[in-house]
Symmetry: C2
Subunit: 327 residues, 2 copies
């Protein structure tokens, strides 16, 4: 059977049983944004990796080399944010062609260190390999989180509120905009090429609230909602008119003849955080909302209710996993 038939998540399911270990020191392993290992006293070690391949995850017609490095690092930093932690150290592997210029290679590293420095994450080594066909950037990241602040994908309870940071749909809108206007600069394009990891937001959340589950939006809101609810064997209802879609995004939608709602549901690489918390946390949530942009978009329901969108009309519509599939 070919790998494209079972897809990335089918492969992960197979590997869960035969490859991944159940070591007592490992608190979180495959199936979450990052692995978590017991460390010193009340600190836990977070360990994650994320790879971006030319023509699959990025296109050098639209991205500069610096942006490629930036985004590869953000994908990793975002995984640490999703666990409630802080990044510490990175190893960077770059697959290069022999004919690449030294300048361009250094630009990839500059993009990585530029966003790394903002979040006090240092590059301390890595590997450079020859890659005959196309560039790839693979980063392995360490981070740490206090035991009491660790948030996993699992942990949501029926009745919990569902929230999201920032605005949704912009990364996809930015990409589609770029495809029509390769040199155009706009805030939407920036969200696609220079996204920001929600480290500070994650820390504000875990410090001020009891977050029951969290995931970063790298495969699209809809897909991540399925991940989150499957981990806790629950369902979710989200309200169309609560999904944060910026006026820029709405304008881009009408300009390009696309649905901003569909962007918001399916846009990968948003690097916003999707999280749940008990209704009791509502007063504290309102306080945190003064500091960071948050939207309460729905609530956790029982599994039999499924994962649904309540439209403006009040009508319910079943969501599908429209997230980006790798194979």
């Amino acid at each position: 059977m070919k790998i494209e038939k079972i897809g990335e998540f089918g492969l992960i399911d197979l590997l869960k049983r035969r490859t991944f270990s159940q070591d007592k020191r490992v608190l979180v392993s495959v199936g979450d944004d990052a692995a978590v290992i017991k460390s010193c006293k009340d600190k836990l070690l977070i360990f994650t990796t994320d790879t971006m391949v030319e023509k699959v995850h990025f296109d050098l017609r639209y991205s500069t080399f610096k942006q490629v490095g930036w985004k590869a690092m953000v994908a990793n930093l975002s995984d640490i944010a999703a666990m409630g932690g802080l990044p510490t150290f990175a190893l960077v592997t770059i697959g290069l062609s022999k004919s690449m210029s030294v300048k361009n290679v250094l630009s990839i590293y500059d993009g990585i260190t530029a966003v790394g420095k903002r979040y006090k994450c240092s590059v301390i080594g890595g590997d450079t390999v020859f890659s005959p066909q196309g560039v790839f950037v693979s980063i392995a990241l360490l981070g740490e989180v206090e035991k009491k602040f660790l948030v996993k994908r699992s942990g949501a309870k029926s009745g919990d509120l569902i929230c999201v940071t920032g605005d949704l749909g912009e990364a996809q809108a930015g990409l589609e905009f770029l495809k029509k206007n390769p040199r155009k600069k706009s805030p939407l394009v920036r969200k696609h090429l220079n996204p920001v990891p929600r480290i500070n937001e994650a820390r504000a959340l875990v410090r001020n609230l009891k977050i029951s589950s969290m995931i970063d939006i790298s495969d699209g809101l809809s897909s991540e909602l399925f991940h989150l609810t499957e981990e806790s064997n629950l369902g979710a209802v989200i309200y169309q008119d609560k999904i944060p879609i910026s006026s820029k995004c709405i304008k881009a939608g009408s300009f390009l003849g696309k649905s901003p709602l569909l962007w918001a549901l399916s846009s990968g690489e948003e690097y916003e955080l999707l999280f749940t918390l008990s209704r009791k946390e509502l007063p504290s949530l309102e306080k945190v909302e003064r500091k960071i942009k948050l939207s309460l978009i729905g609530e956790i329901v029982s599994k039999k209710e499924g994962v649904v969108l309540q439209q403006r009309s009040g009508k319910m519509r079943k969501l599908t996993k429209t997230g980006f599939k790798h194979f």
Copy 2:
């Protein structure tokens, strides 16, 4: 300027200055086999990564998928051995084509876990990405080492003895043998396709001896001798008749019309350990030698004497860095 002009080590030199950080918690960073970070009490955390790309590091005409996984893991385990440590946890990234069979993908993971289990190193996560042109395997590994047992590339002193584990030249001999007889099985071929990381040997060394510097032989004895001596601003003399070359390797050399000595000097991916220690350690070294195969092949001298081979005739010959260049 094209990257092939400055090569892998030229790139690392550039990156040392502009990319890699000087964090106080980082005891060892770029320029050694692995990064080392302060951890709990008397334990240090080792962090390393190594990537293998199809048609660059392996050829699917000669290797099975399981062997590709095995060897990618060994390259990483060997880096941990070179620091005197023990591996703990791995993240595995695989770049796959859509048309690959599920069976072959699982075989790569099986190779990784087969050798990982031998050394109590568990796979706890990773990433799978689509790679349009050719397979790649990138592994990030964590390990740990007691402060007192950490060995770096730097640390050798003039007059120190130079030793090596196992036999040399066999990995290269095995590869050349395979190129002539793709289906042939032989111990030399096994050394090329299923090498063994010297974790147990490294632990015996650091537990019983005061090792002043150590490196694993992934780019060839000659190249690693340059790395080791450059780190301490010294030179080295090695004796031709002390270099451990097995009778199998000598036989293969005469069969293929190649020089076994040249193989021993330049064979990459041997994953043997090259290390130095004070002459005072000689009695203890002899005790350790009863348990593991070791050869005393030379001694550290001053920088001005260079890195030289003393031939059987007594004549000195300058060595060159004949290690494998990636670009």
